[in-house]
Subunit: 177 residues, 2 copies
């Protein structure tokens, strides 16, 4: 693999979400075993003024979805933020992955130097090139929200570890021969 | 900027640690105001069997330090893990940054295709090329530990937000003219 925009989006970030989707399966099984209402984990937070699990997953998905669109020179499709359950979050991840995978590698030709202008909150605008947008905006936000979603579940007693967080990385880890 | 190995390590990951060092200053001021023993935050965790803040920062630093060395075809220098206080963690970050910045851009020529063989825990070995090692190992681990360190402090009441996490990104955010 190379450090191309397409490889980072589809070969590194998409698999991160797939691994997180499997973590959501573990969370659902944990909730069922412990007789926890499945919306409890979905609405859990690490601090009263931090976002709950639902919003962490929505933002992680949007960071990847928006990067795919902006780096291909398109306006991102908007997804409604109406997820309430762990199953809803799995569906959101699947929808995001489908969207990202709809862009062929050729869509990102010249993406590293493409000018990105993205409205933020209030009157703020992010303005930079594609490489910096991916490296300094998309990646730090994406991993922040995936890790925080993991931390919320871990803090609530789910038995997961780095092998769940990076389940997809098993492909290049092997036992000493 | 481009998505080169050198740019990702020194222009994206080093600034992340610099921003986190400023968060540690806020944590120290918070501890002083609240009369909290400064080792309390340093040893705080999100779950009894998760690593405390000290270890999260040590691992984040090591992920970057080791990437700089392996991608340059060298054995990483080992740093002792003896930090106890927030000031110790700031010093660890500074030492890590100094080490990473000691590698010139030319050290990473051919790094994307360089074969990386890295011993992991037990008998496991990671074996892949430089690009995949950076994208699928270094980056997900590095951001996981920085975000979890942030989450630990946020969970313990520190008043920080995304503008602290990504303080260095202010340079390409401006008000609509």
């Amino acid at each position: 693999m190379s450090l191309s925009v397409h490889a980072i989006l589809t070969e590194s970030m998409v698999p991160m979400l797939q691994s997180f989707s499997a973590i959501l399966d573990k969370a659902a099984a944990f909730a069922e075993t412990k007789k926890i209402d499945p919306t409890v984990l979905a609405s859990a937070r690490l601090a009263p003024d931090m976002f709950p699990l639902t919003r962490q997953v929505q933002i992680a998905c949007d960071m990847l979805k928006n990067a795919a669109a902006y780096l291909a020179g398109q306006e991102p499709q908007r997804f409604d933020d109406n997820e309430k359950t762990l199953d809803d979050l799995k569906a959101r991840i699947a929808k995001c992955i489908g969207y990202v995978e709809s862009f062929p590698a050729s869509a990102y030709e010249g993406a590293e130097t493409r000018k990105i202008v993205m409205p933020l909150i209030e009157k703020l605008v992010l303005e930079t090139d594609g490489a910096q947008y991916l490296a300094d905006w998309t990646i730090p936000h994406f991993y922040f929200h995936v890790a925080t979603a993991y931390d919320i579940l871990r803090h609530n007693g789910l038995d997961i570890g780095k092998r769940d967080y990076l389940a997809h990385v098993g492909k290049f880890v092997h036992e000493r021969g």
